[in-house]
Chain length 534, copies 2
């Protein structure tokens, strides 16, 4: 079992069996044989495994992490340093090499009745080092987050409230000197450098912001998963084993990673609010039409908005102040709060409890007035959602259909299938759906008059990165049923971080159209409130 | 001594004294108290310390590494997991936090007659993770390597021998759509986006190459250190504790890191050959004027050249084929080899021995014809070097003096001092120096006629990153005495990696002006030869 040619250094004799166990473990690691890996880790609550990102304690937590891991190492062990601490305790440090990259694994092996087991492990992911000849080129930026980035990419055009703020611009929004790619390399290849930035970009730069770069999007923004078949799946720093959500995947990750303070994105059906919820960020979708969408690649213009992700409400409000016209004086906050029990029932139990507990705490503290319930049946919501989806699909195909037909094979399977379905929507179907949406809009706006609607942003934490298409599609359906409400109403919405379980979700506030600034004020009050009742 | 509030988890009682020792070690780490750190590591050859990059064995190697470390951690310990393996052996895993970043330190403590000592340590450098509110923004690219980068930044303009090759362009060379910064932020701030790329950039893109990004340079390229007072010191992946060399610091690091295959730079006095030698790369400086320098920010036009860094000779030759006119048929290689004992004596003993051994091996294998010695006295070389330096300074001030005078405080101390000295050079001094350089050129060209000159690229490995200004200045003087010869002659030169000690140096071949392609062929033969005589 020991790999031939790997030098083993040990000041004295190595106890029987521990190297065999090490190599059995290593083979299982390369084969992603999780059963063997789990068996070779010491059972019980004291086993520990860490890397530069997380320190997991207990066999169960470690096994759970392993099941969510997407990347299987391909490195080889290059050298072993073995230190015997006691007859039943051996420390092994294994230097690993993967072409260019080098890494280090330290394992504490202890002898048990069942043989040698790992009681503690520390893994250093491969660090940058001189690559071997012929090694695969490494990108200077994370391709799942950025298409182009700089320090900065473009400087401010003035000084103002956004001084020092770096903006990651979703690759749907024009940046002067660069083509717009829409997350689709074949589309990008046909584009020229834009002569001018979108007005929203220029407005941010005039207010003092600089551009950090052009960040990735799900293909043509027609997804909320946060994975792009060409550029990869963006990281979710708040929950590394899970998807990050999309379609504003790059701006969200850039903000979550601290590489930008503002992610300028678009939200048609949830593309800002969903990644915000999944990553513990603040995501703001303005009133439809309040922020000009000139210079922005459309998806479904009836619902498309330009919005932003930030790490806190204050920064979100600063962006709003730069982009949205103030309406003379501080507008009054909404007098009433509405809840939608149906939307809450769509959420998973832990998320529902977390949400209800937080709202109750806000009410108890007086941060929110006591809420009332809006009556909406499941059948009506299904009808609204179907109509919303039909209109979105019809418009998406009208926007991109001719390009897609002329460039077969340019999209990943999931997005291609969605566009193929969109191609089948007839004008009659779309017209009927528009009538349903108009009625829904009227009902929603009636509820929102003088009120804010409070609901979970998403039904639960992001799917694991290992989730299959069926699971992702199921989550997508349940998520959009909730997230379609503000697009249907053309109403502003903000998602606030809702934490307390193992991965973030979001608490969403929806206000009446035009109440963007009061909605942000209400959000600021909630964000400043203590998380729990005393 | 234990930090209050840091949770300590241990399944049983913690042996006396080990936590005190841990906290003493941690305080010393934060204070960079190397004496305490060295004392708390177990003496002897079996102590081991690793991270994702290197695994050091033996107390001496670890202490040496520590003395070369530039960055002192500022993180705090957030959590301790303690496992007792024997009465005298304790494993401590410390999760650390530094604002945004998290890390992990694993230490095996053993009890000795002198108390608790670290017998093995594994450090995970902070990995990306969700930043804390208010955390310092992280750049999406390494600012010491890149100013702007993309996947790609600009695509190819054709298909050819450079298909798939990514180029890092030094920030002296025009890239369309971007300003040229010259490594000086205040200068960059006054520049507009270039309407067109330098012809050399366009030629590479027509041959199939894409641009990976715009890479950093020492300020106005007037340094060979590889550190920029504004953007930082570029990494040297081949020798992490050492400087990487400059002024083509960004292109060199980009190639060494595997983030580009070609670093397009400039070499006035050594700015390609020196970083190539320090990082184990191939660095090519063409015949003066052979590659057009239109669109390139000058330093000293009499010596300025556009050249390139690669990881192998084959890629360097492919770039040459795209940029240099072929001269009908394969030109014959040089018949004779010259050595310059004086230049070899300028090298440190280890470098000199390594160089002489390699040349002897080449001669023994017939890869190089037997060499003869060129007679050059130290006094003559000093005279040549002084004249070269005077002309370079005079031209550098003519190029940048008026801008520098109008923008005081825009340069780092070392470069500012160099320009200040340059400002004092009179026209008469420059004219006299030009006459000396012309005579030196004539002598060098006579030697190079039908021959190649073989010499060490640099007198020794790169200075440590902790080296002070005096040491760096001393190394600079000895280096330029060697590296000024090809600029004086206007002759092509190539530096090949010369490895065998703890950090790379280089073996330099200089050919007669115009023999760029035969020189590359000769370099390819050397690179293909076995490193040692059988």
């Amino acid at each position: 079992m020991p790999a031939p040619g790997v030098p083993v250094h040990c000041p004295g004799p190595v106890p029987d069996g521990v190297l065999d166990a090490f190599w059995r473990y290593d083979a299982a690691l390369l084969a992603n044989d999780r059963d063997v890996l789990d068996a070779l880790f010491m059972p019980g609550p004291d086993t520990v495994r860490g890397d530069g990102r997380v320190l997991l304690v207990g066999h169960e937590a470690i096994a759970g992490f392993r099941s969510g891991r997407a990347v299987i190492p391909t490195r080889k062990v290059a050298e072993l340093q073995v230190r015997v601490l006691a007859p039943d305790a051996v420390l092994i440090m294994a230097r690993t090499a993967d072409g260019a990259a080098t890494g280090l694994q330290t394992q504490l092996w202890q002898h048990t009745a069942d043989g040698w087991r790992v009681a503690a492990a520390h893994v250093s992911l491969p660090a940058r080092s001189a690559p071997a000849p012929g090694a695969v080129p490494q990108a200077p930026v994370d391709p799942a987050v950025w298409r182009v980035a700089g320090i900065p990419l473009l400087p401010p055009l003035g000084s103002g409230p956004l001084d020092g703020i770096g903006v990651a611009v979703k690759d749907l929004i024009a940046v002067e000197g660069h083509p717009t790619g829409g997350g689709v390399p074949a589309y990008l290849a046909g584009q020229s450098a834009r002569p001018a930035s979108a007005p929203v970009v220029t407005a941010l730069r005039r207010a003092g912001a600089h551009l950090t770069g052009i960040a990735q999007t799900d293909e043509f923004a027609y997804s909320i998963a946060g994975s792009n078949s060409h550029y990869g799946t963006a990281p979710n720093p708040a929950a590394p084993a899970r998807l990050g959500g999309g379609s504003s995947s790059g701006p969200a990750a850039a903000v979550a990673l601290g590489q930008a303070q503002v992610g300028l994105g678009t939200d048609t059906a949830g593309s800002i609010r969903v990644p915000a919820a999944y990553q513990g960020l603040v995501g703001f979708r303005p009133t439809h039409g309040a922020v000009p969408s000139d210079g922005v690649l459309p998806l479904a213009p009836s619902y498309d908005t330009v919005g932003w992700l930030t790490r806190d409400v204050a920064t979100s409000a600063a962006v709003a102040a730069a982009l949205l016209p103030a309406r003379g004086g501080t507008p009054p906050g909404p007098a009433r709060v509405l809840r939608l029990p149906l939307a809450e029932r769509l959420a998973e139990p832990l998320t529902r409890d977390l949400f209800a507990g937080r709202v109750a705490a806000f009410e108890a503290a007086g941060t929110l007035p006591p809420s009332r319930q809006a009556a909406l049946t499941a059948a009506t919501l299904d009808e609204w959602f179907a109509a919303f989806r039909t209109v979105q699909a019809y418009e998406a195909w009208a926007t991109h259909g001719s390009w897609i037909e002329a460039h077969p094979g340019s999209l990943g399977a999931d997005v291609a299938a969605r566009f193929a379905a969109a191609a089948a929507v007839t004008g009659e179907e779309a017209a009927a759906a528009r009538a349903t949406v108009a009625a829904a809009r009227e009902q929603l706006r009636e509820w929102l008059d003088g009120a804010i609607l409070v609901l979970p942003t998403v039904p639960g934490p992001a799917p694991l990165r290992t989730a299959g298409p069926a699971e992702i599609d199921d989550v997508r359906g349940r998520t959009l049923r909730i997230s379609c409400l503000s697009p249907i109403a053309g109403a502003p919405a903000i998602s606030l971080p809702l934490t307390g379980h193992d991965a973030p979700v979001g608490l969403c506030l929806i206000g009446a159209p035009g109440t963007d600034l009061p909605l942000l004020s209400a959000a600021a009050r909630l964000a400043a409130a203590p998380e729990r009742t005393p």
